[in-house]
C-alpha cells in the first residue's frame, strides 16, 4: 500500500465533519503544523481535537478562530497571558467549544491504553480533585486510584523528523512527546515529516515508531516558532 502523499491536502482529504483527531506536539515542538494548516484550509467542522495544548505557539488556535472545533480534550487548553484572551478561552466562555481538561500523565496513558487495546486503568493522579468527578475509585494495596478510560480517534495527525516509505519514523530532540503514542491510537495515522527516505535507509535500531502504526506520510516544511512567552 502506498503511504506517501504529495501534499498535506491530499493526505487529509477524507477528514470529514465531526472527525475526532489527535494532534501531537508540546508547544509547537512536534506539532504537525502542515496538517493543521491543511485542515484549516479544508474547513472541516465540528472537530474534536485531542492535544496536549492549544494556542501555545502551536497553530491549533486557527481551528478555533475558524470555528472548526466542537470539543477540545487536553492538559493545557488555557494559559495565563497579559495579551488578551486566546481564541480557545473566548470560545469556551462563549460556550462555543466544550473543553475537557485532563492531567497530562492521565492524558497520555489514556491514549496509550486506546492504542494498546487496554480497557482502562487505575491511576493515583487526580484523587480528591475535580478530575475524580464521576469516576470509579478503588483502593489497591492501600493506595487510592481512579479508573480512567482509553482515548481513541478517527485520525492522528503526528509530526516526525524522518520517515521511510513504509512509515517507519524517527524523531529529533523533544519533538517526540505525544507523537509515538498517538500514532497507535487512531484508525488512520498521518505523519507530517521533514524528510522521506527509501526503505532500508533508516537504522532498525533507532526507529521509534514502527511503520505499522503509520498509514500516510507527507513531507512538509519545518515551522520553528519566533519565540516563546
Amino acid at each position: 500500500m502506498k503511504k506517501v502523499y504529495a501534499t498535506a491536502a491530499e493526505a487529509i482529504a477524507d477528514v470529514d465533519h465531526g472527525a475526532v483527531i489527535m494532534f501531537g506536539g508540546f508547544f509547537s515542538n512536534g506539532s504537525p503544523t502542515n496538517l493543521i494548516l491543511a485542515l484549516a484550509e479544508k474547513g472541516t467542522k465540528n472537530v474534536t481535537a485531542i492535544s496536549n495544548n492549544i494556542g501555545l505557539v502551536d497553530r491549533l488556535d486557527i481551528l478555533c478562530q475558524n470555528k472548526q472545533l466542537r470539543k477540545f480534550i487536553g492538559a493545557f487548553p488555557f494559559r495565563a497571558t497579559s495579551q488578551g484572551r486566546p481564541p480557545i478561552q473566548e470560545a469556551f466562555l462563549a460556550k462555543e467549544v466544550e473543553v475537557e481538561v485532563v492531567p497530562m500523565g492521565t492524558f497520555v496513558e489514556r491514549i496509550r491504553a486506546g492504542g494498546a487495546g487496554i480497557g482502562g486503568f487505575y491511576t493515583p493522579t487526580g484523587i480528591d480533585t475535580v478530575a475524580a468527578e464521576g469516576k470509579e475509585e478503588r483502593t489497591i494495596n492501600g493506595v487510592r486510584y481512579l479508573l480512567e478510560m482509553p482515548l481513541k480517534a478517527d485520525f492522528a495527525f503526528i509530526k516526525a523528523f524522518k520517515a521511510d516509505t513504509m512509515g517507519n519514523l524517527i524523531y529529533r530532540g523533544s519533538m517526540r512527546n505525544f507523537n509515538p503514542i498517538m500514532a497507535t491510537a487512531a484508525r488512520i495515522t498521518i505523519a507530517d515529516v521533514e524528510e522521506i527516505v527509501e526503505v532500508g535507509e533508516l537504522d532498525p535500531e533507532v526507529i521509534i515508531t514502527p511503520g505499522i502504526f503509520v498509514d500516510r506520510i507527507v513531507k512538509g516544511p519545518k515551522h520553528d516558532p519566533d519565540g516563546f512567552d
Binding site: 515542538n29 473543553v99 497520555v108 530532540g173 512527546n177
Partner: protein
Amino acid sequence: MTQMGLTREQIARRVARELQEGMIVNLGIGIPTLVSDYTPDGVNVIFQAENGILGYGPIAADESNIDWDRINASGQPVTLLPGACFFHSADSFTMIRGGHVDLVVLGGLQVSEKGDLANWMVPSRGMGSIGGAMDLAVGAKRVIVAMEHTTKTGEPRLVNECSYPLTAGGAVDLIVTNLAAIQVTPAGLLLEELAPGVTFDYVQSLTEPFLIRSANLREMEL
C-alpha cells in the same frame, strides 16, 4: 503595599539549597523554572522536563545554540548536558507517576495546613490548565512549593482548607515563600526559617493556620 522579603530569584536560590547530588528534579512553570540557575556549586542534579528530556542544561540564550527541537516544559529552548536523553510522554509520566523523580518544585496558589496543593485554577477565571501538575504532585518523592506568601491583594495563600480546586491532597513537603521556609508536618505547619528582616509574628499575621515555631527557628541562608 511594599512587598517584603525575598525576590523571586531569592526564593529560587533558597529552593536550590534543597538540591542534592544525583537527584532527578522536575521544575514547574514560574518561580520553579528559575531554580536551575542556582544549583549549588559542585552539586550534580539531573533535570527532567516532562515533555521528554532528561539531563537538560542552561537555557539556550543566543542564536548560536537555540534549537527549537530541544525545549523544556516551559517552552524555552535548552542546552543538553552530556548523557542527556529524549523520550516520549508515556515514558515521561512513567518516570513521574512511577516514583522515579526525587524532587519536584511547583508553583502554588494555595497550600493548606495538611499540605493540600491548589495550583492550577483561580475559580473567578472559570478555567485553568492542569498540565502535568497533578501527576507530579502525586508521583514525586518530595514536593516543594515556591510561591509568594500572599495574593496581590494581601490574602494568605497558606490556608486552613484550600478554597481553590485541588491539584493533590496532602502532597506538599516544604513551602518556600518570599517570607519564610515552612515544613508541612503531621502536627501542622512548622516555620523553620525567616527571610531577612521578617518576624515570626509578621509571617503569622499573613498566614491563616497557626504556625508552629521551630525550636531551631533561624534566618534564611541565601
